[in-house]
């Protein structure tokens, strides 16, 4: 276990370097002038030169990268936005809860629907439920997130008026800007449509995945052994099939959550949620390198953490796997 942790730690550092270096190189290659954007429309060339100097944009790229690393080590800081000078750490601190609300809430929704449907359609292949489930899966796989989001916002939010069309409310009451909505009820109320969008997108894949793994596990020899022992069908399913068939689901789930935390760009954009995904798009358009790198670093950490959770969960689910 210790060896596993050490290996994971070094792997995380390696991944961190790769991702940030690539981000810096991309920014360097793309012709851009953050200084003039930061300055605004009516700037003298002297002002631009001055801003360029104060943002260290006149330094060579490797020195800029070194400064970025030094700030992390020395000040635990990810730097400041070129555009408005706000701390990147603060920006991510603001955006991450929004994305996390979307991803984890969405995951609860998509699992809540795909686990029962997946299992039931595996138990009754070719039944009406199975075929209905497959239609649902097909829609979810073929339809883009933006389209599903807009349709939901139009039908449920606008035509029926049941939910807000867009926006976000803080989960913790009284936090956030004064006068803005907050509290668990408002939070959930505003998040329902984004969650449903996530549910459509992911439940489709998960129904298929769960159906396939449950069916495969049902035909395992040890399931026949359990039935030969005289175990009732429900017990066979719960004790012998489910745990074995959850292994691939856990893997994919961990990877999906890790990835989605790095930015659910489309869903956030449609519902005007100021999460990491929409922040990333905004900053990339403004050539705001520190914020982009900040989001990339956060996404890296999310992927690494969730891969780690998957490995631990795997070892817990399957005694054949040892973490070393």
């Amino acid at each position: 276990m210790l060896y596993f942790l050490i290996r994971r730690f070094f792997w995380a550092i390696f991944l961190f370097f790769c991702a940030t270096v690539i981000t810096y190189i991309i920014f360097f290659v793309i012709p851009s002038d953050p200084a003039s954007i930061a300055c605004g429309t009516h700037c003298t060339p002297q002002q631009i030169v001055h801003i360029r100097h104060s943002l260290h944009l006149d330094l060579p790229i490797y020195q800029q990268y070194w400064l970025f690393l030094w700030n992390i080590i020395r000040h635990q800081s990810l730097g400041y936005s070129y555009v408005n000078g706000v701390s990147v750490r603060w920006i991510i601190g603001q955006d991450a809860p929004v994305t996390a609300s979307l991803v984890f809430g969405g995951a609860v929704f998509w699992l809540a629907i795909s686990i029962p449907i997946g299992i039931l359609s595996a138990l009754r292949p070719r039944s009406i439920l199975d075929r209905f489930g497959m239609i649902f899966v097909l829609i979810g796989i073929s339809a883009p997130a933006v389209w599903i989001g807009l349709i939901l916002a139009y039908v449920i939010g606008f035509k029926l008026g049941w939910t807000p069309i867009a926006g976000y409310c803080n989960l913790i009451p009284g936090s956030g800007v004064a006068g803005s909505c907050s509290g668990p009820a408002q939070w959930a109320y505003h998040m329902i449509l984004p969650w449903l969008t996530f549910m459509f997108l992911f439940a489709a894949l998960y129904v298929r995945l769960i159906r396939a793994t449950v069916m495969e596990t049902m035909s395992e020899d040890y399931v026949r052994t359990a039935r030969a022992k005289g175990a009732p069908g429900q017990r066979v399913l719960v004790q012998h099939v489910l745990r074995n068939s959850m292994l691939p689901v856990v893997t994919i789930l961990g990877m999906d959550i890790g990835l989605a935390l790095g930015g659910a760009v489309f869903t956030e954009t449609v519902f005007q949620l100021r999460g990491l995904g929409s922040e990333l798009i905004l900053s990339a358009n403004r050539d705001d390198l520190p914020v982009v790198v900040g989001v990339v670093v956060f996404a890296c950490i999310a992927v690494i953490v969730f891969n780690f959770i998957v490995d631990v969960a795997y070892a817990w689910l399957d005694p054949r796997i040892r973490l070393d």
Binding site: E220, D221, Y222, R224, T225, A226, R227, A228, K229, G230, A231, P232, G233, Q239, H240, R243, N244, L317, D318, P319, R320
Partner: protein, 343 residues
């Protein structure tokens, strides 16, 4: 009254390609404490016959007719909940591949305890004690610590012992062993067979030994069923079968048995492939591979009929008695000559 009486059992599977006639009219009986050997190639219906007896076929794709009486009561067509009272309690079953027949994510002890708790109203501690006792009985060393191990921590032979332990933990009257030694190496095979005979005496149970290995049958069985194409083609007491097999398929099986003390350079083999159960051949199922085939074999299915020793030895073959006697005598002489010259 026999313990297990199977009468005219038919099992058909509905598949996308059509109906597979896996078992066609199988009739036999098994007495208490006896061992029945069931021999045949893959796809001869030997496993399906006993999965049907246990009610373990998928009911959605299976049609079954005929009769299975266990201890005088009809059990074919019992509800699943009634059947559960028999499975694992009065009839135990072990399977071919011990590597895949145990749940990989549960300890051996958990799986043994489950078998106890399903059929007995006892505490978990009592169930665990029984699990350890039965592991000792199947000669697993350090049973009281190994009970908490997972299947992957056991070798193939040890896992098959665990499977046997699990089948025997509720003292069943019948143990159905579906090729229990096929996946094991030869020395382990011998140990498992010896263990099974020992346990059979101690538990006074009947054993059905499904195998394609005539050596196993010769060693353990009292009676033998030879199956081919979903039908019984020869049924006999064991010595009689080896002494005077009555039909060409059994001759082929005996001829293909490897022997150490022979000069023959190659094993005899039965040419061709087992018959398709989707579209079985007309007449005798063995006719496309039979070296003694004649017109009648291609038209008419031979009935099970009695040979020289009477009803105790029946077989399916159209060949006349004197022809079969002549052919077998010649084959036997050839086999013995090969052994003799090697000696």
């Amino acid at each position: 009254m026999a313990l297990l009486e199977v009468d005219d059992l038919v099992t058909r599977f509905r598949t996308d390609d059509g109906i597979v006639k896996a078992v066609s009219g199988v009739t036999f009986s098994l007495d208490r404490g006896k061992t029945l050997g069931v021999v045949g190639e893959s796809g001869s219906g030997k496993s399906v016959t006993f999965l049907t007896v246990m009610g373990l076929n998928d009911p959605r794709h299976t049609e079954t007719t005929g009769s299975v009486r266990f201890d005088g009561n009809e059990i074919l067509g019992l509800s699943t909940s009634q059947m559960r009272g028999i499975r694992g309690r009065r009839i135990g079953m072990i399977f071919q591949d011990p590597m895949t027949s145990l749940n990989p994510v549960k300890t051996i002890g958990w799986q043994l305890q489950e078998a106890v708790l399903l059929h007995n109203d006892v505490t978990k501690e009592e169930a665990r004690k029984r699990a350890i006792d039965i592991l000792k009985e199947v000669e697993i060393p350090r049973a009281d610590t190994r009970v908490d191990d997972y299947p992957h921590q056991f070798s193939g032979g040890m896992r098959q012992r665990v499977m046997i332990a699990m089948a025997l933990i509720n003292n069943p009257e019948v143990l159905i062993a579906d090729e229990p030694t096929t996946a094991l190496d030869v020395t382990t095979q011998a140990q498992i067979l010896r263990l099974m005979t020992k346990l059979q005496k101690e538990h006074e149970m009947a054993i059905v030994m499904i195998t394609h290995d005539l050596g196993v049958v010769a060693e353990l069985a009292d009676d033998v069923l030879v199956m081919y194409g979903g039908r019984i083609v020869e049924k006999s007491e064991v010595h009689d079968l080896f002494e005077k097999p009555e039909m060409p398929y059994t001759w082929g099986l005996l001829g293909s048995l490897p022997r150490l003390n022979t000069t023959a350079e190659r094993l005899e083999q039965i040419p061709g492939q087992p018959p398709s159960l989707l579209r079985p051949p007309r007449g005798c199922a063995f006719n496309p591979r039979c070296p003694y085939v004649f017109d009648r074999c291609r038209e008419e299915l031979p009935d099970l009929r009695a040979g020289a020793v009477g009803e105790g030895h029946t077989f399916r073959c159209h060949l006349a008695d004197e022809d079969r006697a002549r052919i077998w005598d010649a084959k036997k002489a050839a086999l013995e000559a090969a052994e003799g010259s090697a000696a």
